[in-house]
C-alpha cells in the first residue's frame, strides 16, 4: 500500500501574506463598523427611532439637593418634577396645560379660580390625591419656614371652597397676574410625610419616579412609579442622579458614557461638545441663569446709587460672556430674557463697558479708591466670573476682597439677607410673568430682598403690575417698563448676562424636558439601544 501524498506545507512567505491579508480585512471591517456606528449615533442624535422602555438614566449634577429648601427653586430642580407633580405646566407660548388639574376657570373679576382635578392619581404611598392635597400645598407655601419664592402669590389665596374631592375653588385677596406661575411652581407633596421630605429622608409625591435611596453628597436613586397616572409613562426603569462637584470629572463622566445628561456643564465645555456628534447641546430660554452682581444698599459706599451705577458701567459684559460662559449667553443690563413681555432692546443694552463714565460717577459720589467685600461661590465657573468682575472693578478704582463660599452657604445668606456689600450669583424667575420676579425672587422681592432695598415707588409699581388678572395688555406692559426703568436707575441688582440652562445629553438619551422653573421632566424620556 502506497501512502497518500501529503499536501505541501504552507511556506513562511505564504503564511505572512495570508496574515497580512487577514489583518487588512479586519482593519477594513473595523473601519466600516466604526463608520456605521458613528452614522447610527448621528442618526440617533437626530431623533430617529421610537421610544424604548427600560434602562436607567444617569444624570450628572454639580451639587447635591438641599432638602430644607425643597419648596424653593434652588438646587432641587432635578428632583422636584421626578417625585412630584404640579397643577399645570406651561407650553412654549406660556399657555398653561393640564397636569394634576384637568381644567380651570378664573372668575371675571380675577378674585377666584376653580380647578378640576384628576381623579386617578395616587401618591407613592398608595393614598389617593384629592382637593385636600392642593389646599395643603398652598398652605405649605404660605409657611415662611419653607422659604418659597412664590410665597407672596400663595399668600393671596385667602379661602378654599371644596366642591367634592376633585373640584376646588381658590379665593384670592386680589387679582394676580402670575397665578399660573404659582401652579407651575407649586409641587404637590404628601401632607403626612412633609417633615421627612424637608429632612431629606423620604420623598412622597405623585410623580413618575419614587426615591429609593439617597446618599448625601453622592447620589440619589429613583425607580419607576408603576402606578403613575400618565398611561405608559415613564419609559425608564429608573433614574440615578450622581453628584459630581468637579467640572472636569463631570465632563469626563459624560464623555465616557457613565452619565447621560447634565445641566451643569460649563459653557466653555459645552462649546467644545457642540460639534461632537455623540452629544446634543440644547440651550433653554428659561432665564434661570441670569448672572448679576447683588448690592447691599445699606453697606458703606454702595448706599449711593451713583456708585452702583458706576459698577454697572465698569463691567465688560461681552468679555464675561465669551471667557466665563463660553459664548453661551447674551449680555444684558436687565433681568428679562428676550421671551419676556418686559424685554426691550434699549433696556438690555442700557449699560455698556464704559470705564470713563464709571470713574466720573465715582468721583461725583466721592467714592474713589474704595474697597468692598465680594462674595462668590467656590465652584470654578463662579470663581472665574468673580475674577473678571474683580478685575473690571479694579480698573475704575474699586478694590474688592473676594469671599468664596460654597453654594448652599451662598443660598442661605441670600435668603437670610446676610450678604456682604457685593456678591455675584445667578437668578431665575424672569422667564415667567414679570411680576413674579418682583414679588418672588430673593434679589428683587419688593417686600423683602437680599439687597435691603425698599422704595415706595418700587412697591407701588410692582403691586400695580401684580394686582391685575391680565399680564400682557398695553397698561401692564407700561408698568413693566416702569419696573425696568426703576431697576436700571437704582441698580440694587446689577444684571450682567442671561445664560439660560444648557442641557448636554449623550447620544442615547431622548425626550428630556424642563418646565419654566427648570424642573426636570422625564415622563417621556427614554434611552436608545
Amino acid at each position: 500500500m502506497t501512502a497518500l501524498p501529503r499536501p505541501p506545507a504552507p511556506s513562511r512567505r505564504n503564511l505572512l501574506r495570508a496574515g497580512l491579508a487577514g489583518a487588512g480585512l479586519m482593519t477594513l471591517a473595523a473601519c466600516r463598523s466604526a463608520v456605521e456606528h458613528s452614522r447610527s449615533a448621528a442618526a440617533d442624535v437626530d431623533g430617529a427611532g421610537s421610544p424604548r422602555k427600560g434602562g436607567v438614566l444617569s444624570v450628572a449634577a454639580a451639587i447635591d439637593i438641599t432638602p430644607s429648601l425643597l419648596f424653593a427653586q434652588s438646587a432641587n430642580v432635578l428632583v422636584q418634577r421626578l417625585v412630584f407633580n404640579t397643577l399645570t405646566r406651561y407650553d412654549d407660548r406660556l399657555q398653561p396645560q393640564p397636569e394634576l388639574a384637568t381644567s380651570w376657570q378664573v372668575a371675571p373679576d380675577g378674585l377666584s379660580v376653580t380647578l378640576k382635578l384628576r381623579e386617578d392619581v395616587l401618591f407613592h404611598s398608595g393614598r389617593r390625591f384629592t382637593a385636600d392635597d392642593v389646599v395643603f400645598a398652598v398652605r405649605n407655601l404660605q409657611n415662611p419656614a419653607r422659604s418659597a419664592q412664590l410665597r407672596s402669590t400663595a399668600a393671596t389665596v385667602t379661602d378654599f371652597r371644596k366642591n367634592g374631592d376633585f373640584e376646588l375653588t381658590l379665593v384670592l385677596a386680589h387679582p394676580v397676574s402670575n397665578l399660573f406661575d404659582l401652579f407651575e411652581f407649586m409641587i404637590i407633596p404628601d401632607a403626612a410625610t412633609i417633615e421627612e421630605a424637608v429632612a431629606g429622608t423620604r420623598l412622597i409625591g405623585t410623580g413618575p419616579f419614587t426615591l429609593t435611596e439617597r446618599k448625601p453628597g453622592s447620589s440619589l436613586s429613583f425607580a419607576r412609579n408603576e402606578r403613575y397616572w400618565n398611561p405608559g409613562r415613564p419609559y425608564l426603569d429608573g433614574v440615578e442622579i450622581r453628584v459630581i462637584p468637579q467640572a472636569e470629572s463631570l465632563l469626563s463622566s459624560l464623555r465616557t458614557g457613565q452619565t447621560h445628561l447634565s445641566y451643569n456643564v460649563r459653557g466653555k465645555d459645552a462649546a467644545l461638545l457642540r460639534d461632537d456628534p455623540k452629544f446634543h447641546v440644547k440651550q433653554y430660554d428659561t432665564g434661570s441663569g441670569a448672572y448679576y452682581i447683588g448690592v447691599d444698599v445699606t453697606a458703606e459706599h454702595v448706599s449711593d446709587k451713583r456708585v452702583r451705577q458706576a459698577i454697572a458701567w465698569a463691567i465688560d459684559r461681552d468679555r464675561l460672556v465669551q471667557q466665563a460662559l463660553g459664548g453661551y449667553g447674551s449680555v444684558s443690563s436687565v433681568p428679562w430674557p428676550k421671551s419676556s413681555p418686559a424685554y426691550t432692546e434699549v433696556g438690555a443694552t442700557h449699560y455698556r463697558h464704559d470705564p470713563e463714565r464709571a470713574r466720573a460717577l465715582l468721583r461725583e459720589a466721592g467714592a474713589e479708591n474704595i474697597t468692598l467685600p465680594f462674595a462668590h461661590a467656590t465652584e470654578p465657573g463662579p470663581t472665574a466670573i468673580a475674577q473678571i468682575l474683580q478685575y473690571d472693578l479694579k480698573q475704575v478704582g474699586i478694590e474688592t476682597v473676594l469671599q468664596p463660599a460654597d453654594s448652599p452657604t451662598m443660598q442661605k445668606q441670600l435668603i437670610s439677607q446676610t450678604m456682604p456689600a457685593l456678591w455675584s450669583l445667578s437668578h431665575g424667575f424672569a422667564q415667567l410673568h414679570p411680576a413674579t420676579l418682583a414679588v418672588s425672587a430673593y434679589p428683587f422681592n419688593e417686600a423683602k430682598n437680599s439687597s435691603h432695598f425698599s422704595s415706595p415707588a418700587y412697591t407701588d409699581i410692582v403691586q400695580r403690575a401684580w394686582n391685575r388678572s391680565d399680564s400682557d395688555s398695553p397698561e401692564t406692559k407700561a408698568l413693566y417698563q416702569q419696573i425696568t426703568d426703576l431697576l436700571l436707575d437704582e441698580e440694587f441688582v446689577i444684571d450682567l448676562a442671561i445664560a439660560g440652562l444648557v442641557e448636554v445629553t449623550g447620544s442615547r438619551a431622548r425626550g428630556v424636558t424642563l418646565n419654566k422653573f427648570g424642573y426636570l421632566n422625564l415622563d417621556d424620556a427614554y434611552l436608545t439601544a
Partner: protein, 282 residues
Amino acid sequence: MTTATLTLKSPRVRGRHLSGLLTWRGLTGLALVGAVALAGLLAPLLTDTDPNAQGPLALAGPSADHPFGTDDLGRDLYSRVLHGIGTDLTLILTAVPIGALLGCSAALLAATSRWADLAVQRAFDLLLAFPGLILGLAVTAVLGPGRWPVVIVIALAEIPGFGRQLRAGILVQREREYALAARVGGSSPARVLLRHVLPNAVDPLVVQTAVALSLGVFIEGAMSFLGLGVRPPEPTLGSILSQSVAYLTTDPAFAAAPLAATTALVLGFTLIAEALNRGIRR
C-alpha cells in the same frame, strides 16, 4: 569638657553635610531648586507684566509677547507662573520654620518628664491621624481660604515630623557619656538638655527640613488645586494647575509651565534631602 565636644563636632558635621550636597544628587537638587527659586525671586525683573492683568486674548499659545501663552481669562502665564513661584516659596519658607520651631519645642517639652512625653506623643499621633488635606479642609472651614490658612496647615503638618526626629535624637544623646558627665558635674537637667544634648541631636533636622520643604510645596499645591488655598486672583502654582485641568485636552500648554515648576521644586528638595541623609550616614 562638653564645650570641647561641641567645638570639635560642628566642623565635622558641616563637612558631612557639604560632602553630601557635593554629590550628583545634591548638585542636581540644588540646581533644580536654585533655578526655580531664582526665577521666582527675580520675577519682577524678568517680567513687567502684571500677573493679574486680564485681556481679551484667552487661551493663546506661546508667543513672543506671552512665552507660556495666556490663561482662560487672558492673563499672561509667564508672569503668573513666575509670581506664583514667589508666592509658593514665601508661604513655604514661612510655614516650615514655624512648624519646625513648634515641633522642636514640643520634643524638648517631652524630654522633661514621662507625663509630658506621653502627652506630646499623643498630640503628634493626633496630628498624624489627619491627612494633610483633611487638616486643610478643617482649617479652611474655620478661617476661610487665604494665605494664613495655608501657612497654618503646612506648619501643623510639619510639627510631628520635626518633633519625632528631635525626640529620637534626644533619647539617644542623653544616654551618652558626655551627658552623664555633665549631670555628675552638677549641671541642671535643663542645662544638660539645652547646652549639651540638643546641639548633638539636631543633625537629622537638616534632612527633615529638606523633606518638609518638598511636603510644603505639595500641600500648597493640593490646597490651591482644591480651591482651599490663596484667594484668587493671586497666582500660586497649585491654583494655575487647577485652572488648567479643564483645558488639558484642548490647551495642554496651559498646564506645562506650572507643572514643570512644581515638579522641579518637589524633585529638587527630595534630592537635597536624600543627599544630606547619605552624607550624614557616611
